[in-house]
Amino acid sequence: MPSIAKAMESTTVIFATEKQNAKIIPSVLVVDNYNGSQPAVITLQDCFTPSVTNGVSSPTSGTVVSRMITTVDNGGLEILGPTLEDVEILGQARVLIETMDSSCFVTLGWDFE
């Protein structure tokens, strides 16, 4: 199971690129805002390019769908495990923070299905 920890040094941080023949199934998300300067509003996003279909001949490149949102107070820590079990990411897994904060750390672990 791959995982990676990153500081939220920009508002959008990429955690995993798309694996073409699989979905990304997040298994753990840790938001460490112990030293954060404000509450962290964290959004787990799914970024992908849909296929050409019968209904859409020119699909939008970089379609973004928010899969989960959580808020962690400054001085707080949140660990999400089993609550992620129904979250699926079709393309690139990335995390959005409402206000950039390099003291806020996010760890994402995932499986492929």
């Binding site: 073409q20 992908f48 296929s51 050409v52 209904g55 079709l90």
Partner: protein
């Protein structure tokens, strides 16, 4: 030409391979057309095999579909043989997804339908959408139960991959295993004929 293997009710030891093996016999019925004269009504022994896995993937929005042509046509997936002595036995399974798969051969003609005139797969119908459609539990990825048999210049087989309601987008991953079989024509003894796999033309699915 199209075969869905049901779940087994019992197991045997040693197991029976799903895919054609070297030394197996295949027989094409007389219903194959004259335009495919290299197989029509003929029997073959499989002399060599080579298995080639291949995945195709699509991200499709809800209540939409994509037609995937498996033939060698210009916008097809080029999964047909280019040699009259080659048979492709293709197993396909799907990763878990909220999807349906209808089959057409040739384009526009449903493979899975009932005899009554209106009983054809219809994606705009809340009930007929599910008629004749395979889903990812019918033929799971890595345990394919849906098989196609492709020969040189066979008409295009179309897989219509549909994403059902209840989800914004879905990723459909179709896992193929192409069992490339090199055939040599033979005259079968009655014993060999009894062991031979019969490959029927798609028109024999409709009688």
């Amino acid at each position: 030409m199209i075969q869905l293997l049901p779940m087994p009710e019992a197991t045997v030891t040693p197991g029976v391979p799903k895919y054609l093996q070297e030394g197996n016999f295949v027989t094409f019925t007389d219903r194959w057309p004259d335009t495919l004269s290299w197989v029509k009504g003929k029997s073959f022994v499989i002399e060599k095999t080579n298995q080639v896995p291949y995945d195709l993937h699509y991200i499709i929005p809800t209540n939409d579909f994509k037609d995937v042509d498996l033939s060698n046509s210009s916008d097809g997936e080029k999964m047909y043989p280019t040699n009259t002595k080659t048979l492709y036995q293709v197993g396909v399974g799907f990763k878990p997804a909220d999807m349906l798969c209808d089959l057409f051969i040739p384009a526009g003609e449903y493979c899975q339908r009932l005899e009554y005139a209106s009983m054809v797969p219809t994606l705009s119908s809340n009930t007929l959408r599910y008629l004749g459609a395979f889903n990812s539990t019918d033929t799971p990825y890595g345990d394919a139960r849906l098989f196609f048999y492709f020969v040189y210049r066979l008409e295009p087989l179309i897989m219509r991959l549909y994403v059902d309601y209840g989800i914004d987008y879905e990723k459909i991953v179709a896992g193929f295993l192409v069992n490339q079989c090199y055939m040599r024509q033979v005259l079968l003894t009655p014993e060999q004929a009894a062991q031979s796999d019969v490959i029927r033309y798609y028109t024999e699915l409709r009688w």
